[in-house]
């Protein structure tokens, strides 16, 4: 093979790995975007709750030595519960017209969840179970890491379940009704409070899975993961277009691939600068995001 070919194989390989890892960003982005769509508010505690859920699932791993897949499911359940708690503490009782208060409360919750984790684990990283981490699929000239593929597949399954819930069940249709026409939905007897709570639980579960996937791909869990995951998730949400689920998915994969390529070329300390630049490029040339609508209505 020519030299040129060798030069591009490694970058392409890193894009491939990055895109698969990016499915985690997509999950987090979906969570932010869905809550924004329904409540027009931002839940900054979301990624922390996801990591928190993953930590909670460690109990099943360490105490019961449950298989990895069960641990992941426990993470989803635990995160759903945390999501409900976040809703109660930060959104349920704070008046609608004070968005700064909810924003601040969710920041408080972010710190709180992170600190609970730090205290429960004495701040030490914990090993997290993975699946197929010893498998390497040889697709000459590329390799596919088994654990990354598993992450990708599980994420896609989770997204499909979510889309099924949103578009095929009563619950999901009610949720979308509230997102689009809160007043009209209210008239049709759809309780806004309940819908909001359910949204937090569903997105929480999704986030929990994302948290577990982070743990599975890195092999360890650390409370230090929460903030970077928050920042990446928010960037994905904006690039995808606020409120757009397909946007969050595409943007998640895009950001994953993009950051991994730059990690390959520029190293891990500089990589995030380029992700920020990507965001600024979007904000300048396409502020409504990939799939967002430009709203003119005030």
């Amino acid at each position: 093979m020519s030299d040129f070919w060798w030069d591009v194989i490694d970058p392409i390989q890193s894009v491939l790995d990055g895109v698969m890892f990016g499915s985690i960003y997509a999950l987090i982005g979906i969570g932010f975007t869905l809550i924004f769509g329904v409540m027009h508010k931002i839940n900054l505690a979301y990624a922390a709750a996801s990591i928190g859920g993953a930590y909670a699932s460690l109990a099943a791993f360490q105490l019961l030595s449950a298989p990895a897949l069960v641990v992941f499911l426990c993470a989803a359940v635990a995160s759903g519960v945390i999501g409900y708690a976040v809703y109660i503490c930060c959104f349920r009782f704070i008046p609608e017209h004070l968005p700064l208060a909810t924003l601040m409360a969710s920041v408080g919750m972010l710190i709180l969840i992170d600190e609970v984790v730090v205290h429960a684990t004495a701040g030490m990283p914990e090993p997290y179970p993975a699946m197929f981490d010893d498998v390497m699929i040889d697709l000459e000239p590329f390799w596919v890491r088994g654990d990354l593929l598993m992450i990708f597949v599980l994420s896609v399954i989770a997204m499909m379940i979510l889309l099924y819930i949103l578009y095929r069940t009563r619950l999901g249709i009610a949720t979308r009704a509230v997102a689009q026409q809160p007043a009209a939905a209210q008239l049709c007897g759809i309780g806004q409070q309940n819908t909001n709570a359910v949204t937090f639980i569903i997105t929480g579960a999704l986030g929990g899975l994302a948290g577990a996937m982070v743990g599975a791909s890195v092999g360890i869990l650390s409370p230090l993961l929460a903030l970077p995951l928050t920042v990446k998730g928010l960037i994905v949400t904006v690039i995808g277009g606020l409120g757009s689920i397909p946007g969050a998915i595409v943007a998640g994969l895009l950001v994953g691939g993009f950051e991994n390529v730059f990690q390959y070329f520029r190293g891990v300390t500089e990589r995030d600068i380029y992700v920020m630049l990507l965001l600024f490029v979007f904000l300048t040339f396409r502020p409504q995001g990939l799939f967002g609508r430009m709203s003119t209505r005030d």
Binding site: F36, L98, L103, V231, T237, M276
Partner: protein
Amino acid sequence: MDFYYGMAQLIGVHTLLGLSAYVVLLTGQVSMAQAGFFAIGAYLAGMLTVLAGWHIVPAMLLAAVASAFVATVVGFPALRVKGLMLVVATLAFGEAVRIFWFNFDYQIAKGNIQVGPLGGEGFKQIRYFPENGWSTADVALFIWAWVIAAMVALWWLDRSRVGSVLRAVGEDELAAQSVGINLTAVKVSAMTIGGFIAGLGGAIYAHYTTHIEHLNFGVILATFAIAYPILGGLSSVIGVLIAVIFIQGFLVEVLRFMGDWRNLLFGALIVLAMNVRPDGLFDARAMRTLRRLFGARDA
């Protein structure tokens, strides 16, 4: 006694940080970029005194002007985005600044040691105060002179027509434009003033801690910056000071005996405070009561 001076220094610097976010918040912009401006002020002022041997006052002023300039440049694109988008954009900007300093090396030999910022190791030996024989008390006084100057200036601004204009823009941009307010000018000016004050705060911070590194200027610091004015209720600069004293003084210092549990309590208290007093600890009503106590005319 040194303990109290140390606390006064900390509260002073954080008050500047909070004030910088306060001005911007008045126009309705939630800026998570204040930690970035603070970092620019810190690194530049440190480089000016350590590497270029400047006196601290001009070093601070130049660093603050540079921060203000960057803030102006950020302010224009920031006009295009609102609400959540602005939060994310400014957050990303702040992080980009932090990562910039994480990757920034510029060292020169001074005597037999190398000084200057060194990437992940940070910028050590910003020893202007000890080298010039300032005591802790001197430093505390110096810091508070700046804090008081900034508070008085912003108090004045708040009471003048500019204050009402900033709040009008924060409340309803369309209505503000329709009465002849130039949104671009107002929002960018607020960003610039915020950048200047944050730069001052950072410049002082670099010198009293003597060692800065990129991790000092992360998302948590940006969060603190907006937490102060929001907890303070956005009705006056006094609210910012009260919030800083509450958070840094009460939570961080008084609860020192709680050791590592303080941060946890900090998170819980913010959640609680926003549920109990969503308008801020020190809201407009409290402000009017205070005014009446001092016999001022109700404005």
